[in-house]
C-alpha cells in the first residue's frame, strides 16, 4: 500500500515536471514595435503585478519565458504584458469615432468571467501552427508566431488583436454559437486552380462580417447580440475593429510602429478573411 502511494506520488510529480514549459519560441530579440511601446513605460512593475492576475497567468505556464525576468522584452511573458498594456491604456475611447471602448476590449482579453465570456487563463504554447487558440473550456493560448521577433504578428497590436480573436471564441461558447468547423471558423473550398476560397474569403478559416456603424454599441455592450445578424460579431471582426481603433483612435503616446502594424493587420485581415467581405478598412491612405 505504502509503495503504491509513493509510486503514485512519483508519477504525479513527474507529470507535473512534465508540464513545466521551456522556452522554445525565439528569444533572441523583439520587434521595433515591441521595443517602441516598451520604452513608453520602461517596464512598469505596478502594471505587470496587476496584469498577471487580471489575465490569470501563473509561473509554471510561463517559466523560462520571462516570468522571473519580466523586464526582458526579448522574452514571451514581457511581450504578453506589453500587448496587454496597449489594451489597458492605449485607446482614447471616443464615443463618436471608436468602434468599441477599452471597457469592451479589456473585458474580452482579461480572464475574469463576465458577460463577455466565462473565466479563462492565459497560457503559451510552442505550437507553430497557430497564432493563438482557445481550448474549451478555459484556456486562451498564444503561440510562437506572436512572439518570434521576425514574425509578422510579433508586435503588441497584433498580439493584443489575437487576445480579442481568441476571447471571441470563448464568447461564442458562452452563448452557444457555432462559427464553423475549421478551428471555429468556416472552412474554404478547394478550387481547381489550387486556391481555397469561400465567398470573398481566401484563407481556410473564414468568418462573416456583421457590419455595424460607429456608436451602435455603447461602450461596454460589445458582448450583446440579438440572435440575428443585425447585432453580432465574429472573431475576426472583433479583431479588425480592435486593430482599427488602435490605428485611428490611439492615445497620443502610442508609437507609430504600433499604429502602422495595427493598420496593416486590420486591412489585410478585413480584405481576405470574410466570406461576405471585404469588411471596412481603416487608417490613413498616405504611406505615413
Amino acid at each position: 500500500m505504502k509503495t503504491g502511494v509513493i509510486l503514485t506520488g512519483e508519477i504525479l510529480a513527474l507529470a507535473m515536471l512534465g508540464t513545466l514549459t521551456y522556452g522554445l519560441c525565439l528569444q533572441t530579440g523583439a520587434s521595433q514595435a515591441d521595443r517602441d511601446l516598451w520604452n513608453t513605460h520602461g517596464c512598469w512593475q505596478e502594471y505587470f503585478l496587476w496584469q498577471y492576475q487580471a489575465y490569470d497567468m501563473n509561473g509554471n505556464d510561463w517559466s523560462n519565458r520571462g516570468w522571473n525576468d519580466a523586464c526582458n522584452v526579448n522574452l514571451e511573458y514581457p511581450k504578453h504584458w506589453n500587448a496587454a498594456y496597449l489594451v489597458t491604456y492605449g485607446l482614447v475611447d471616443n464615443n463618436d469615432q471608436s468602434f468599441h471602448g477599452t471597457i469592451d476590449y479589456r473585458a474580452a482579453a482579461e480572464a475574469a468571467s463576465s458577460n463577455f465570456h466565462n473565466h479563462f487563463i492565459h497560457q503559451i504554447s510552442d505550437d507553430n501552427n497557430f497564432f493563438g487558440q482557445f481550448i474549451p473550456p478555459d484556456k486562451l493560448i498564444t503561440d510562437c508566431p506572436l512572439y518570434d521577433p521576425a514574425a509578422t504578428n510579433s508586435n503588441p497590436a497584433s498580439r493584443a488583436g489575437d487576445f480579442m480573436h481568441e476571447s471571441w471564441h470563448a464568447w461564442m461558447l458562452k452563448y452557444n454559437w457555432n462559427n464553423g468547423s475549421a478551428g471555429g471558423h468556416r472552412p474554404c473550398n478547394n478550387n481547381p486552380d489550387g486556391s481555397c476560397t469561400l465567398g470573398a474569403c481566401s484563407f481556410n478559416g473564414c468568418d462573416y462580417f456583421y457590419f455595424h456603424g460607429v456608436s451602435k454599441y455603447v461602450f461596454g455592450a460589445m458582448w450583446e447580440n440579438d440572435g440575428t445578424a443585425n447585432r453580432f460579431h465574429s472573431p475576426n471582426q472583433v479583431q479588425v475593429e480592435f486593430l482599427c481603433d488602435v490605428a485611428d483612435q490611439p492615445q497620443s503616446w502610442v508609437p507609430n510602429t504600433v499604429r502602422l502594424r495595427a493598420t496593416a493587420d486590420a486591412n489585410a485581415r478585413s480584405a481576405a478573411r470574410f466570406i461576405n467581405g471585404p469588411g471596412y478598412s481603416c487608417g490613413s491612405f498616405r504611406p505615413w
Binding site: 509513493i6 506520488g9 512519483e10 510529480a13 507535473m16 515536471l17 520587434s31 521595433q32 514595435a33 513605460h41 517596464c43 502594471y47 505587470f48 503585478l49 496587476w50 498577471y52 505556464d61 525576468d69 519580466a70 523586464c71 475574469a112 468571467s113 466565462n118 473565466h119 501552427n129 474549451p136 473550456p137 478555459d138 509578422t152 510579433s154 452557444n176 457555432n178 462559427n179 478551428g183 470573398a200 484563407f203 481556410n204 478559416g205 462573416y208 462580417f209 460607429v214 456608436s215 440572435g227 453580432f232 485611428d248 490611439p250 497620443s252 507609430n256 510602429t257 502602422l260 502594424r261 486591412n267 489585410a268 480584405a271 481576405a272 471585404p278 478598412s281 491612405f285 498616405r286 504611406p287
Partner: protein, 285 residues
C-alpha cells in the same frame, strides 16, 4: 549521537511532498524582474518631452547614419508628431543617398523585423521621391514565396510579404505620377495577393478623393468579383459616427449581397466554470 535513518520510502514520500509544494508555490508567485520601473508612465512621458525629428540628410555614410537615426525616432514618434515627420521626409526626397540607405534598411529588415520594414516603406512612400520609384516598383513585383506551412489557414510568409507590398503600393499611389499609377493599375489587376490588390484600390481611390472618375478608371483593371472593393468604406482617423455611418450605409445599400446570414446555434453552451472575478482596477497610468 547516531540517529536512525528513515526508510527510503518515507524519505521518497517526503521529497515528493516538497516537490509538490514547490510546484504549487511557483505557480502562485507573481512575476519578478531585475530593474523594473516604479515610475508611472504619465510621469515617465512627462520627463521625456518629444524630441525633434533628426535630419534626413547627408551623403554616403552620413546618409546611412541619418537614416538609422531617423527610423529610430520615426518608429517611436506619436500622432502629434505626424506633420513634423512628413515635412522632414518630404525634404529628403531629392537626396539619392538617403533614399538608397532607406532601401537598404528595408531590405535588411524584411526578414528580421516586419514592423521595421513596414516603417521603412512608409517613410520611403511618403517621400514621393523619383529615386524611390524603381525600388517600390521592384518591391511590389517580388514573387510570393511558394506555398508553405499554414497557420490557421494562412501562409504567414505570403501574408508577410503581401502586407509589406501593400505599403509599397500605397507609396506608388501617393506618388501619383503616370509611371507610378501604371504600377498601381498593374497591382489592381494582376497582383497575386488579394491583400495587395485591396490596398492598391483603397489608396488609389483615396488619392483621387474617391471620385467617380477614379472609380471608372479602376473599373478597367479590377478583377471580376472584386468590384465591391471600389465601394468599400474606409474609416479615416477623425471620421465622426455620422460620416462613417453614411459611408457604411451607402456601401451596404449598393451591395445587398454582403448581408450575412443569421448566426448558427451551437451544440450546447459552456458551463460557467471556475468563478474568477478579479476586478481590481489597473494602476493609475
Amino acid at each position: 549521537m547516531v540517529k536512525r535513518i528513515a526508510s527510503p520510502k518515507v524519505f521518497g514520500l517526503a521529497a515528493i511532498l516538497v516537490m509538490l509544494l514547490c510546484w504549487q508555490c511557483a505557480s502562485r508567485q507573481g512575476p519578478k524582474a531585475l530593474g523594473p520601473s516604479g515610475v508611472r508612465p504619465s510621469e515617465l512621458l512627462a520627463q521625456k518631452p518629444p524630441q525633434p525629428a533628426p535630419k534626413l540628410a547627408g551623403s554616403g555614410d552620413a546618409a546611412r547614419r541619418a537614416v538609422i537615426e531617423f527610423l529610430a525616432w520615426a518608429g517611436a514618434s506619436t500622432p502629434p508628431q505626424r506633420e513634423e515627420a512628413r515635412r522632414e521626409i518630404a525634404a529628403a526626397a531629392g537626396n539619392r543617398d538617403v533614399v538608397q540607405a532607406l532601401c537598404d534598411e528595408i531590405t535588411a529588415a524584411r526578414t528580421t523585423d516586419h514592423s521595421r520594414a513596414l516603417l521603412g516603406l512608409s517613410v520611403l512612400g511618403e517621400m514621393r521621391s523619383p529615386h524611390a520609384l524603381a525600388y517600390l516598383k521592384d518591391f511590389i513585383h517580388i514573387p510570393m514565396p511558394p506555398p508553405g506551412r499554414l497557420i490557421e489557414g494562412e501562409d504567414p510568409q505570403q501574408t508577410a510579404l503581401a502586407t509589406l507590398q501593400g505599403k509599397a503600393v500605397s507609396g506608388l499611389a501617393y506618388m501619383n505620377t503616370a509611371e507610378s499609377n501604371t504600377e498601381v493599375f498593374w497591382a489592381v489587376a494582376k497582383h497575386e495577393s488579394r491583400i495587395v490588390r485591396a490596398e492598391a484600390i483603397r489608396t488609389y481611390l483615396a488619392n483621387h478623393q474617391n471620385s467617380s472618375e477614379a472609380k471608372a478608371t479602376l473599373r478597367k483593371y479590377v478583377r471580376k468579383g472584386e468590384e465591391v472593393f471600389l465601394d468599400r468604406p474606409n474609416r479615416d482617423s477623425g471620421d465622426r459616427a455620422e460620416i462613417f455611418n453614411r459611408k457604411l450605409d451607402e456601401y451596404l445599400r449598393a451591395h445587398p449581397e454582403l448581408a450575412p446570414p443569421a448566426p448558427e446555434r451551437g451544440s450546447g453552451a459552456s458551463e460557467p466554470g471556475k468563478a474568477y472575478d478579479f476586478n481590481r482596477a489597473p494602476p493609475r497610468f
